[in-house]
Amino acid sequence: MEPVPGLDLRAPPFDLLDADGQSRLSAALDLAFHPAGTLLVGAGQPSEHVQVIAKGEVVAFDRDDTGEQHFADFGPGDVFGAFAVITGRARHSYRARSDTLAWLLPAGVFRALLASQPRFAAWFHEGLAVKGALAGDRDGGELAALLVTRVGDAVLAPAHRLHAATSIAEASASLRTRRVDCLLVEDPDAEGLGIVTRTDLLDAVTRGGLPVDAAIGPLASRPLRTVRVEDPLFQALVLMTEQHIERVVVVEARRPVGTLGMAEVLAHYASHSHTISLRLARAHDLDAVADAARDMTRLVRQLHAQGARIAYLTELVSALNTRVMARLFELLVPAGLRDRVALLVLGSEGRREQILKTDQDNALLLADGLDWPDAAATMDRFSQALAGIGYPPCPGGVMASNPHWRLSVSDFVARIDDWRREPTGQAALDLAIALDARVVAGNAALFAPVRAALSALGRDEILLRSLAAPVLAFQPPLTLFGGLRHASAGLDLKKGALFPIVHGLRCLALRHGIEHRNSDDRIRALVERGALSAELGASLGQALAVVQRLRLARQLEAIEAGAAPDNLLHPEALRRIDRELLRDALRVVRDFQRWLAGSFHLAG
């Protein structure tokens, strides 16, 4: 079918269709004339068409008690009505502002194209998933989940059960005949099921020196690490990476229905995460760790392209970063000392919100009275090793290699008190990142007194107020009418959007005694406690995801171009849908800032 006149198939999203898709599109389009003022789609209504504007202007608006709220403008080349077609419910009302010519793509053809053209579908789902969730729309949220396979969709290995009294030899035969590599163990003397893997049996005989007729009962691991059939497959990947295990048990309504190994997960993702993780575990020197970690950027790029949710990405990247640091720590810190020190990660790594390998932000906590003359030299090596793998040194010097960030438990507690009395300038910055600290290696118990001292700050309203003040320092670049203002130098996503959200949540968490580090966890806890409205909480989570996603895309682009990743974004270079999402996100930031100003009595 010859193309329709005046519709550019080389422009997104139509360039994502293959030749067959373009031909089906060209065969199905009609051209409608909408006189100025015509209501094209009503909010909440289904739409029979997706429309592409050929000429004219369409405005999207919402109606509330105070009248019509202008939401967005659409011009030639823009697509609207896709969301209404996919979900059966338009989010906004659309009206022709001027006489408008628009190509009409019938809903059925659009759906068929989505179903058969993955790249085309991804273009719409990516934006719409977030968009839908922004509107608090359940359909939109489920749509997003479609992009992530469920555990139940993977090929599960059967969960075969044996009694604890079964011998190693029998169990081993059973593994072979059933072609599985793990078994569930029923032990009347233990609580719940246990699991033994092929490796466990082998180790018991070859390294533990057990006879092959010994019972498997004592070999079983408990409790089972489980994922639910309805969990995203990605969750299983994160769990295995984090827990350093090769297999998880899949449960349905709490009953084991099978087991899932890395191989099965990999069959779905074809990604490098497990290879990275395995190689890390096997790495016996610094170079090997470095080799294993090098693939991370590629993994992130791949998962990003596959449409993985940003929350899972950050979880996975943080899990891998943690493993890298823990492995380096084990390689460098003598075994006898590992129990008397604790390696802390601060800031975004502490919150598990890293999207790529970024600046080192860490500190070393030493047990009181520990004398370790080699600490400086060891931490220097640690920092250099991280730098060698691709984690640049922190420009602010927040690193265990810096004596300022290598301190005893009581010194740390004393410093927290200093911060409390003088929470300005550098002290405020230090305090902020310390509030996100978590232990990644060493003795976690050492951190308890520090954690308690940090939590105690939450009762100091004067401190909270000065700590929260910087959230207002940067106003989102929105025009009077809520449009995006163009900044020639670009928009600093970190300053303009991430910081106000993350820091605002950090201050609120501190005030309400919430120990969570992760922003999403903090939001959930604050909402549960009634300290944040469910609506603002949901919007904040979505805004954070949008900003993180745009930032990741920007940084991947920079890396591709061989430039240093930065946080500057040029809104005019964004696709329209991203620009809209960004604008929504910035509105949320602005609302949150206003709310915080009231809550912390800040002068706005």
Binding site: P5, G6, L29, D30, L31
Partner: protein, 202 residues
């Protein structure tokens, strides 16, 4: 020949109502038109040839481009560089088209009794006339609507003393309609239809 269309249609139905082309003579469906445009080797119906034909139904405020009829036509003899400059169809491309008689036959079967709409439609119909007559035995009975004439009537009504510019590009630009793919039959048909809709709106 000067009979008003309904009368002519009645008269033709009496003569050809049982013939193979009776469908052309049925009552035209209300509210539906077909925008027609041809690309030709030149502007003289006596000596020039049809190179392509595009027709797009128009119902309500929507040009039913998805129901379009388009044919590339093989001219019976060569054509010059001047005409190639105009329509951009190369002789080799034209040679891949359908024979004109077959294409017009298919078009008539597709068209049925629907009203025809075009820009300077008389020229296009004059190009088709010998083929239509040879195929059906009578002249095309469909009602005709012309964008240029409608435009001229409106201009004279609004500003009787100003000479009317009936140029295609001028009409489109006055109506705020983008000229889509000028000098392709489908592009001109779609632009003509969009202009008609714009005139309907005011």
């Amino acid at each position: 020949m000067a009979l008003p269309p309904p009368l002519r249609r009645w008269w033709l139905r009496r003569r050809h109502g049982d013939g193979p082309w009776a469908a052309l003579l049925a009552a035209p469906p209300a509210g539906e038109r077909v925008v027609l445009d041809l690309e030709t080797t030149g502007l003289d119906p006596a000596s020039d040839h049809i190179l392509s034909l595009a027709a797009v139904p128009l119902r309500g405020r929507v040009l039913r481009v998805s129901e379009r009829f388009t044919r590339r036509i093989r001219p019976e003899r060569g054509f010059g560089i001047d005409s190639i400059r105009h329509h951009g169809i190369l002789p080799a491309e034209a040679a891949g088209g359908a024979p004109v008689r077959a294409a017009v036959r298919e078009f008539l079967a597709w068209l049925g009794p629907r009203d025809l709409l075009g820009y300077r439609l008389d020229f296009d119909l004059a190009m088709l006339a010998p083929h239509v007559r040879a195929i059906t035995g009578f002249d095309l009975p469909n009602r005709r609507l012309d964008l240029a004439e409608r435009w001229a009537r409106r201009c004279r009504r609004q500003q009787p003393e100003v000479p009317v510019d009936q140029g295609f590009d001028h009409i489109a630009s006055c109506l705020g309609v983008p000229v889509l793919d000028r000098h392709s039959a489908l592009g001109d048909a779609v632009t003509t239809g969009a202009c008609w809709l714009a005139m309907d709106a005011g």
